[in-house]
């Protein structure tokens, strides 16, 4: 095979896979402590996108806008936990699931009302649309940055989860929440931390997602939500390592289909990708790296 083609595939797969891995991770970290599939997760990406849109014409440097967008997503995540999820947490898991669907719809409608139901262009820095020439290969800056930032985030998150008391408490809560509480770990604090991390990840995903699409609409979160869900399921629902693996596998699969399918079938790429996902789950229903089932917090 043409080495150029292979290198191109690897970089694209790594780039898309990194993005998918972050999406899945943000979903998995909340699922880990609460056993909640947060259906409002996609709207955090939307919040980041609209923050960029609102600040589009400001004279601030793009890096400041990017940080503002990530913070907005994190804030939205923590606020939805505090206002919507915490009051129904003791009732049942189903109540939280329905609540997350309600929050999703509510946030989408808010964007519809406050901004517009139509697509809004978001300008991205010129740098992100350029490409570099490295060792005779044309490499897009956006792809390189996605990979770099994602790996940096994964590394930082790993440090947080292994070295800090809060991180260890988060992992303990995912293993056995009631036991963690009996050691003195405050349920509210751990859950809020999980939502904050989830929001930061969604915010960063939002930046790169909007940069790829070049615009934002109220339903922009639907795609990422689906991807995050599927990647966590492939990965084995529950473990963070599984979510990351699932993200990269799904990213590679998507890029592979894009490259290998004949042009007449390219439009059906997702059907092929998800078809393979179903086959994988038929063979390995527990996912790539099965997570543990444990009690949830009351």
């Amino acid at each position: 095979m043409d080495p150029d083609f292979v290198a191109q595939f690897v970089l694209n797969a790594l780039s898309l896979g990194s993005l998918y891995a972050l999406m899945a991770l943000g979903m998995a970290i909340v699922f880990g402590v609460l056993r909640l599939v947060n259906l409002a997760y996609g709207e955090l990406i939307m919040v980041a996108g609209y923050t960029l849109f609102v600040l589009n014409d400001s004279p601030l440097p793009w890096l400041v806008l990017a940080v503002a967008a990530v913070l907005a997503a994190a804030l939205a995540s923590v606020l939805t936990e505090r206002i919507a999820f915490r009051p129904v947490r003791v009732n049942s898991l189903n109540a939280m699931l329905v609540t997350s669907f309600a929050v999703s719809t509510l946030l989408q409608n808010a964007a519809l009302l406050l901004v517009s139901p139509r697509t809004r262009a978001v300008s991205v820095p010129g740098l992100l649309t350029q490409s570099l020439e490295i060792a005779g290969l044309r490499v897009s800056v956006a792809n390189l940055m996605t990979v770099g930032v994602s790996l940096g985030l994964l590394f930082g998150l790993n440090l947080l989860l292994r070295r800090t008391t809060l991180g260890i408490a988060l992992r303990a809560a995912a293993d056995d929440f009631p036991m963690a509480r009996m050691l003195g770990v405050r349920a509210d604090r751990v859950i809020a931390a999980a939502f904050a991390i989830s929001g930061v990840l969604a915010g960063v995903v939002g930046l790169f997602w909007v940069a790829r699409v070049g615009s934002v609409i109220p339903t922009i979160g639907a795609g990422p939500l689906l991807i995050a869900l599927i990647a966590t399921v492939i990965g084995g629902m529950g473990g963070l390592a599984g979510a990351i693996a699932g993200g990269y596998v799904l990213g590679a699969l998507t890029v592979g289909m894009q490259l290998l399918l004949p042009s007449g079938l390219i439009d059906y790429r997702d059907a092929f990708t998800f078809g393979i996902v179903i086959l994988v789950l038929l063979v390995r229903p527990q996912g790539l790296i099965p997570g543990r089932q444990s009690a949830r917090v009351g």
Binding site: D176, M179, R186
Partner: protein
């Protein structure tokens, strides 16, 4: 130190505790015995804040525990080793112990940790190993060490000998007796009635959610046919379903 008065607790329509009253004085080793479904684990769950009592009072050192979350009960100095041991399987042994000292703010944690590792050498040897890879006996040691490093005012042990090989069961009862001699206040739940009455200061015999008899081991032996309780202790899955503290194994 701890008094439980006329406590009733339910799981939905099922009445798990009908009327439980008991006390534990500082430095005492008090045991709750009885067959499965008697309400022993549920009693501990109510004290620990994992389960609400529908009636009655629980008071620890003058403070009511009613409505307190488990993390707040822990802050009063009550430490629990649940029946499934509650070891965090994906965390290392060292991380498990670190969470045991989560509430401590003094500078003597490192010294206590060293002492515990002398007492349980395997925990030092396997410090960086995932706790889920330890054997049952090793996990029990870890769970007890993790509870001790919090320097509990009251240590609650739920069936510490369950599922262990006979030699390890001996070791667990020796350890409980040792801790008692060192002055740790202990509330012990056990199905192994005979062994428990050898180490306890006082015991409560529970049956279907009530205290059927209580007193010093000799008094209890005189009051009831202990062997029948012991033999009646064939395990049924009923009690754990609601009463257990942790997740599924």
């Amino acid at each position: 130190m701890l008094s439980v008065t006329n406590v009733e607790a339910r799981y939905g329509a099922i009445l798990a505790l009908r009327d439980i009253s008991l006390t534990v004085e500082e430095g005492e080793l008090v045991a709750l015995v009885g067959s499965n479904g008697a309400g022993k684990t549920t009693t501990l769950a109510v004290i620990a804040g994992l389960h609400r009592a529908s009636r009655g009072a629980v008071v620890f050192e003058g403070k009511s525990l009613a409505g307190r979350a488990p993390e707040d009960v822990a802050r009063l100095g009550i430490s629990m080793v649940p029946e499934n041991r509650g070891v965090f399987p994906t965390l290392t042994v060292a991380e498990n112990l670190r969470l045991g000292s989560y509430l401590r703010r003094d500078g003597e944690v490192a010294r206590d940790l060293e002492r515990l590792q002398e007492r349980f050498p395997v925990l030092g040897e396997r410090a960086s190993q995932a706790a889920g890879t330890l054997s049952g006996g090793e996990q029990q040691q870890l769970a007890i060490a993790r509870a001790l490093i919090s320097r509990p005012r009251l240590l609650m042990l739920d069936e510490p000998s369950l599922g262990l090989a006979p030699t390890l069961v001996d070791r667990v009862f020796e350890l409980v007796a040792e801790l008692h001699r060192e002055g740790v206040t202990i509330l012990l739940v056990e199905q192994n009635v005979r062994r428990t009455l050898e180490v306890a200061d006082r015991a409560y015999l529970l049956r279907t959610g009530r205290v059927e008899a209580s007193g010093r081991p000799a008094e209890l032996r005189a009051l009831v046919d202990i062997e029948s309780v012991y033999l009646g202790g064939a395990r049924r899955p009923g009690e754990q379903a609601g009463g257990r503290a942790g997740g599924s194994p």
